[in-house]
């Protein structure tokens, strides 16, 4: 799929199933939300087997950055080099269907991504006892666990996780940290925005505060509001 935000891929690495050698290189990236540039000059490299934890206060642009990386919105400027079909994005919403059971939800995403790793994902996220329960009847934490289990059935190497631990209890956070660790050991990579300590000591930390764009010059699309006001002046 050609995503508008992607400026290129790595030659010779089009196989999305191979978890080895999947590097993500971001250079001089600027991203915008609602026409206002929130982050600028951002650059980092994420190598296979690495995890990078992004930190920054609310509203700094973590979600906007992730949506740009996932190709859901175009970058203002800069370059994102990522192998095609290698990235999976877990947002605040889990993408679950309330009237489908846990297994049916996972089976759907496994079929879409052409993998059959449903049982492994259920085991990894400790969803055994909930297999046949409808997603509507899960607690918030259980839904989150199911949403994270979806990452495993995508079979994609680079995980982009936006606040993955919201509504998880301490045991589930530890469980999830273990899942991320084994994903990294298998040659995957993870980009995680979180406010809590996941217990991933090996992960690098990137503070986004220095990359905050200067918004004092006003929003890019500021003209529209002014014109509207003038029309009725």
């Amino acid at each position: 799929m050609n995503c508008p935000g992607f400026t290129g891929g790595f030659a010779g690495q089009s196989d999305g199933v191979d978890l080895g050698g999947m590097d993500m290189v971001v250079s001089d990236l600027a991203v915008a939300r609602g026409g206002v540039t929130v982050l600028a000059g951002l650059g980092f490299t994420l190598r296979a087997g690495q995890a990078l934890v992004l930190r920054g206060p609310n509203g700094i642009g973590k979600t906007t950055l992730f949506r740009t990386l996932a190709g859901l919105q175009p970058a203002v400027s800069g370059r994102i080099a990522v192998p095609p079909e290698s990235l999976t994005y877990a947002s605040h919403a889990d993408g679950l269907k309330a009237t489908l059971s846990v297994t049916e939800n996972l089976e759907f995403w496994a079929a879409v991504h052409g993998t059959g790793a449903v049982d492994a994902a259920i085991t990894a996220m400790n969803l055994h006892t909930l297999r046949d329960r409808r997603a509507a009847n899960l607690s918030a934490g259980q839904k989150r666990r199911l949403g994270l289990a979806r990452l495993l059935v995508t079979g994609r190497p680079i995980w982009v996780l936006d606040e993955p631990t919201v509504s998880l209890d301490a045991a589930s956070v530890a469980l999830f940290a273990g899942v991320v660790r084994s994903h990294l050991a298998a040659g995957g990579a993870a980009l995680i925005a979180t406010h809590i300590d996941l217990g991933l000591d090996e992960a690098g930390v990137l503070d986004l505060t220095p990359f905050k764009a200067d918004t004092s010059t006003g929003p890019l699309d500021g003209g529209f509001g002014d014109a509207f006001d003038e029309a009725f002046a």
């Binding site: 999976t88 919403a93 049916e104 052409g114």
Partner: protein, 218 residues
């Protein structure tokens, strides 16, 4: 693709999925019109083709906003857009799923309602044929409208306003096929035009819908 089709059909048939809503609406329209117009068979027979087509069109409209809105709310649409499935294909599959649960049942139920409306005996074949050829266009055009309005709060009304004008050619040619067929005239020309609209819409609109979704997800 097939997984998406199965999921959409399964969701529709489960509780709160809205299957049968369009069909029930269609039935009500066909029952209410004779009550309003009066029971004279001759009058009803004249307007039957038009009423059945307008009813089918409005019944189709009822369920359009569900095509993408639910997937947008729970985040599935973001995930589908980043999945290996081409978005154009996903849109086409969703239009097909919509037709299977609205257009197809409407087509099959229409002859029964034709009896209520005193549709002339020669018209039944043409009614089924025109609905079978025309309702896929309603689903595909409606999917395009749903893609344009996805993410808007209370986009349902705007969706109707956008889509209804686009339904006009399908309605005109569809009703014309039944009218000519009932009167024993040659219905080949409107039938060919109806099929052309469906084929053109099914070939082109999934691309437009996918582009609209990409813009709306930004």
């Amino acid at each position: 693709m097939i997984a998406l089709l199965i999921r959409d059909l399964r969701l529709t048939f489960r509780a709160g999925g809205g299957f049968g809503l369009g069909l029930a609406f269609f039935l009500l329209v066909a029952v209410l019109v004779p009550l309003g117009v009066g029971p004279e068979g001759e009058t009803l027979g004249k307007i039957a083709a038009g009423i059945l087509w307008v009813g089918a069109l409005l019944a189709c409209l009822l369920s359009l906003d569900r095509i993408f809105a639910l997937d947008f709310e729970d985040g599935s649409l973001d995930l589908l857009a980043t999945a290996p499935l081409p978005l154009e294909g996903a849109v086409a599959v969703k239009a097909l799923a919509h037709w299977l649960v609205t257009g197809l049942p409407l087509t099959l139920a229409a002859p029964l309602l034709g009896v209520l409306l005193h549709l002339p005996a020669g018209g039944y074949f043409w009614l089924i044929l025109s609905l079978a050829l025309g309702t896929p266009a309603l689903s595909v055009i409606g999917t395009f409208g749903a893609a344009l309005t996805v993410g808007l709060k209370r986009g349902g009304l705007l969706l109707s306003l956008l889509v209804l004008p686009l339904y006009v050619p399908t309605l005109i040619f569809g009703a014309e096929v039944v009218k000519r067929g009932s009167a024993g005239m040659d219905a080949g020309a409107p039938l060919a035009l109806l099929a052309a609209i469906t084929a053109g819409a099914a070939a082109l609109l999934p691309f437009a819908s996918a582009a609209a979704i990409r813009v709306n997800l930004r």
